[in-house]
Symmetry: none
Subunit: 271 residues, 2 copies
């Protein structure tokens, strides 16, 4: 087991009095950093307390004090016998208000896609510039999982693997905001799509195209070509945007047709 000592020296203890740094603060801060950096994502379960205390080189009570601190800030959540899980307060604090607005104002979706085009482009560019070996490994893995899910045609796994892949890119960009925001936005959109369009099966051959775009992003980052990575990410979003618009149009057509049928034959059936 690798033992990585906690930094205890000049932790920013904002108290005015002269304070000896508490080890629980150091631990809490270390865990916070892992969450910020993305190595601990919302929904993840942290290692068991005994294990984690070994890994961090502190005793279990100290680790527990740190966890309690994070729990009181709402960043983690523990269940006896179950484990301790990372919550998504960071992301939700930015996007709780947006959740319901998306449904009410469809043109927000267009704004969102435009925003994501910028965000994911930048994320890919930075990732190509800055990714460490560990980042690349994680990216490979996420890509492999994504390919599997696509091959298996498992919508649920595909969706979560998609999020994981984009999250890995965001993580490799080494900017906490980019990582959390892109993940949050993607999740938001997927929920919204699932809500408004059923399973989006209306797109027949999109699968292989999407997979090719993901591969292009992955390759450009691996080969450390920032501009190519940005271009690939933007192409990807452009494709999603176009496909989505098309799918919406056809859905609207179907709906009007259905409505016409309704009004013609059974006007009382409101649905």
């Amino acid at each position: 087991m690798l033992v990585l000592p906690i930094e205890r020296f000049i932790l920013p203890t904002p108290q005015t009095k002269l304070q000896v740094p508490r080890i629980s603060d150091a631990v809490a801060s270390a865990l916070e950093r892992r969450i910020l950096e993305g190595s601990l994502k919302p929904g993840d379960r942290l290692p068991p307390e005994r294990e984690l205390s070994l890994e961090l080189g502190v005793s279990r009570p100290s680790l527990r004090e740190a966890i309690q601190k994070l729990a009181s800030k709402g960043m983690v959540q523990s269940r006896q016998g179950g484990g301790t899980y990372v919550t998504d307060r960071l992301e939700s604090s930015f996007f709780d208000p947006w959740q319901d607005m998306m449904g009410a104002h469809p043109n927000l979706r267009e704004d969102m896609l435009e925003f994501r085009r910028m965000l994911e482009g930048q994320a890919a560019e930075w990732a190509a510039e800055r990714a460490t070996e560990a980042d690349l490994t994680r990216l490979d893995q996420a890509f492999a999982t994504l390919a599997e899910a696509f091959a298996a045609d498992d919508l649920e796994r595909r969706s979560s693997a998609d999020i994981a892949f984009h999250q890995a890119v965001g993580e490799a960009s080494h900017n906490a905001l980019v990582g959390h925001l892109s993940a949050a936005l993607l999740r938001l959109m997927q929920d919204n799509i699932r809500l408004n369009l059923g399973e989006l099966k209306s797109i027949p051959a999109a699968g292989s195209l999407l997979m090719g775009q993901h591969a292009a992003i992955h390759a450009a980052i691996r080969e450390r070509k920032p501009q190519a990575a940005r271009a690939a990410a933007e192409t990807h979003i452009d494709f999603v945007r176009e496909t989505l618009a098309q799918s919406l149009r056809s859905a609207a057509r179907r709906e009007t047709a259905a409505r016409r049928l309704n009004t013609d034959f059974s006007p009382s059936t409101i649905s």
Copy 2:
């Protein structure tokens, strides 16, 4: 010794999952109540941990977890060997998780500035492309207000005018996400700066430079030069970033100097 058992039944554990009440939560909330009721006034010292744990009928580790929770909320403050004291300021808790993250992890500030550089650059570019006449009018007005506030040297008005100006740019970009995010991030940073650096008066001639940068952004948008607008916005953020870093360095220098003075002449004067 009076033993008053802690109520453990239906403590308001806001977690969504089915949760067994933790004893440390019960203790924390019991202490909180004492503080709110006034039996523990700000400045008071709580009983020693060993004593208090007896009194409450819980073990010392559990009591400590509770105290750590309160400490992370800023309600109490402990000094090794000294004791645990009730803090005098109760209403200091900022509930935005990003806010205290910024304080605890300084590199997050850098991420934030990097992100803002992208965001505000894009906002300015889009604003230059898309602003309607109404947008431009609003922008003119925001700029005028900002100039006034700068001239009057009113920090409070200046800060809110600053936010309003960037918000106007965001609105003119005609992307709801850009507008809200850039405003939210600016507000977040301003709060953080005010918190960590006092009033940031340490920057002497920055005022006119900042004003010039705002003018450049304004002009480029008005003349509908997207690239120039983006460049101006990026220059603005670069300047803020550099100035902030410099100011932080000098603050650190001042602090070390003060510490040296302390250790030289009056080592007993802690605060």
